[in-house]
Point group: C2
Chain length 470, copies 2
């Protein structure tokens, strides 16, 4: 479901009003030149994405005051507002329709302050995750949430989706690293929520309500985030297993140990094959599945010894990698497994309780049998979050932009399986436009009603990001 | 501000209806026998606490269904409901008036499940924090939030206040350990929010909204909490300094290091003197202030070496304690510093950014000069959360139950100072009834309006805990 396309006149009138009253704010009218803003990474990749050749209107504010002015005047004109970060999202949450006003934070890119003494940074939402970390590294600090897309995703978008990433197995997701926010609400007012202190319980936790709210409650214009010291040491460890099932089962041995690695990524056999094919690596020669692990902090030798014993006992071939080899492996992980252009595909980001990961991998055979699809997954195994890839070979002569219903059905089936074992539709990408039906399966009618009541309390006219999230 | 006392008839009619329609639920009418339920630990200790000799009506549900029935029928009768855990709260959040119905979770004490494989426990709200940890210890697991009151405080109350504690410097506050909740809303419906998986971003984060909401949004009847492995090792370290100022300044040396202890408690000079007087310890002989630290995890020797070097360089006398001595020291910390019955006193739980802790201690001299009070504080220094104790000697012949305005003014002044350096009114106890004026100083009118709108969205008639929190 997306919001209805308005008559062009409402949007045109809004753009004209903005250009007259606020010439200092760059606003681009709806045109073929803004067509990129119809999409985020999810709908751009999706075969069934919008084929419109006319984009939305796009505003590029350069200050929080600009955002306030834009929201106030859009509300006056009754034009829906789509908040947008770097547009790298994987759920359609930042996609727009031709009749909407996109407020992009791509020019709000200042790092306003870094305080090593308080272990906080204050940043504008358009700062890229990797930019912030590059800025912090010389100070011996880092910002823990690290989505695989960190080179292209912005802090504002990370906040909107409560982004996870590789290291959140140990350090928590974005929510655990956000202390305070400045947010523009639907009436154009600016509120500051949270505090610079690490702790604080005064009033309801509005920071957590805004984090992960997918742009439906307000627009974040500044964030105070928590920093951490770069650990005393980091070491990459590989554990190869003969099969996918053996590797998945071995995760329980880590849970039963006292070692909590900063990263635990699991690659099943088809993923290793796919990476090898696209990156000229030779991972599959070393085993039929891989746990790629990062240990960090103090006592690396002690940690490694306990981890090695735990994984060796369940069939793992465990090795501490050199720094150089470790870098190559992490680069392979972050680049993704590659896509084959001769197949339709569908992804996702289900999360399940840790002990249920092996059952999810075992269920791939059921899907294959039932729908004729190929299924593989790389997993943030330390916290039970999987990125499945469901593919179906495009037959000769078939329309590549028209995947058959079986692809959708298989995706749906897998998500319902995750729900049946206590999991969730989305572990870190958000619901956006592409998972709304499934979100309604996960959330009971009463819970959905509560969500809508909270939305209406802060945005009574439904100005922000209509048709998204829940 | 407390809610107005209703005419007895409304409450009497409610109790009669409950006894007739639900004889299986124990309900005690308003009477002198329920007078304890007028108070929590804050208002019981406060000289100006309610002097009523008639308590509220009290219901003791034994199941979630009982809670639903109670809420539904209280709503029908228009009688306000005060949710209550163990009554150990320090902000008046669980205090009641004679005209209200207290729904106490003291009989919902089942540990429903412990899953080492998923690292979760499912518990009813009346389980005491220390009970849960005693149950988990043989499994090699622990529940991280550990308020100093853990022997008497319940998980439900911890959730209502987003309780902190000693170890949250490293492991986070209650919010970071709660994955899912079953909550009874004001219409008597039961919703399940969150999920058993560690990650999940489907919909707005209702779990975080309920955690710390001080009973104004609903009644938690079950919680799925996150567990952690008991660390490979724990070591208690003391660092004594010549003065309060030197010890407070030394905190920056920990921040500048790569060591992040599981606990960092700071005792100023008057606190050491007070503990010695009440516990026959001899801490003051060892120094004029104390950092009491717990290191945990792997590489304890490496951690200790880096910490010792950092603190020795700024004048600390650093020592690793034996396990036996460590236990004595933590027991002294958890028992509190003791109260002198010949003084009026006022407490609190302000939190400030880490680097501002020394200024807070320096400000005590200003308060002493300005109001003639004595001020000291023990601090959860790892996260900037302080527990000040402001005392004023009761002159001969004065009424002990009537402290002078200067005590209130000094408390108020200190909180405003914390706010002026980026801090918050309450780091972990909540606002309850006793800090509402100050919460209104911290939260802007627009932020307060947003909080009230969210409250109204979930509890439109204001059934739950009127007059509390914000």
């Amino acid at each position: 479901m997306t919001s209805p396309v308005l008559a062009p006149s409402a949007l045109d009138a809004l753009v004209a009003a903005l250009q007259e009253r606020h010439p200092e704010i760059e606003v681009r009218p709806s045109s073929p030149a803004t067509v990129d803003y119809l999409h985020d990474a999810a709908t751009r990749l999706a075969p069934a994405g919008s084929a419109s050749t006319i984009g939305p209107a796009v505003a590029l504010p350069a200050s929080p005051e600009h955002v306030q002015d834009l929201v106030r005047i859009a509300a006056e004109h009754g034009v829906p507002v789509v908040p947008r970060g770097a547009g790298s999202g994987l759920s359609g949450g930042a996609s727009a329709t031709t009749g909407e006003l996109v407020i992009s934070t791509e020019r709000l890119t200042r790092i306003l302050e870094v305080s090593p003494e308080d272990e906080v940074a204050v940043v504008e939402p358009g700062v890229l995750n990797a930019e912030l970390n590059a800025h912090l590294a010389p100070l011996g600090l880092f910002y823990a949430p690290d989505p695989a897309s960190w080179r292209i995703s912005s802090i504002g978008g990370n906040i909107a989706t409560n982004a996870g990433g590789l290291r959140c197995a140990k350090y928590g997701v974005t929510r655990e690293s956000v202390l305070a926010l400045d947010v523009v609400l639907a009436d154009g007012s600016l509120i500051s929520v949270g505090h610079r202190s690490i702790k604080g319980v005064t009033g309801l936790d509005l920071v957590s309500l805004f984090v992960g709210s997918e742009g439906v409650l307000g627009i974040v214009v500044a964030a105070t985030v928590r920093l951490r010291p770069i650990p005393a040491a980091r070491r990459t460890v590989t554990a190869f297993f003969d099969s996918t099932a053996e590797g998945a089962a071995a995760l329980a041995a880590i849970t039963a140990s006292r070692v909590r690695p900063s990263i635990v990524e699991f690659f099943d056999e088809p993923t290793l094959v796919s990476i090898d094919r696209h990156s000229h690596s030779r991972l599959r020669e070393r085993g039929g599945s891989l746990l790629l692990i990062e240990l960090d902090g103090f006592g690396i030798a002690e940690q490694f010894a306990e981890l090695r014993d735990a994984l060796t006992a369940v069939g793992g071939r465990v090795q501490a990698e050199t720094d150089a080899d470790g870098e190559v492996l992490w680069e392979l992980r972050r680049s993704g497994r590659g896509f084959d252009l001769d197949s339709w595909f569908s992804g996702g980001d289900i999360a399940v309780p840790k002990s249920r990961i092996p059952e999810v991998y075992a269920y791939f055979a059921v899907l294959q049998e039932r729908y004729g699809v190929e299924v593989s997954a790389v997993a943030h195994a330390g916290d039970g979050n999987l990125h499945p890839l469901i593919t179906l070979r495009i037959p000769d002569g078939a329309d590549p932009s028209a995947p058959p219903a079986t692809l959708h059905d298989a995706t749906d089936d897998l998500v319902r399986f995750a729900l049946s074992v206590g999991g969730t539709v989305s572990g870190e990408h958000g619901i956006g436009t592409v998972k709304r039906e499934l979100a309604a399966v996960e959330l009971s009618p009463r819970t959905l009603a509560a969500q809508h009541a909270l939305k209406a309390a802060l945005d009574p006219t439904g100005l922000f990001n209509p048709g998204k999230a829940f």
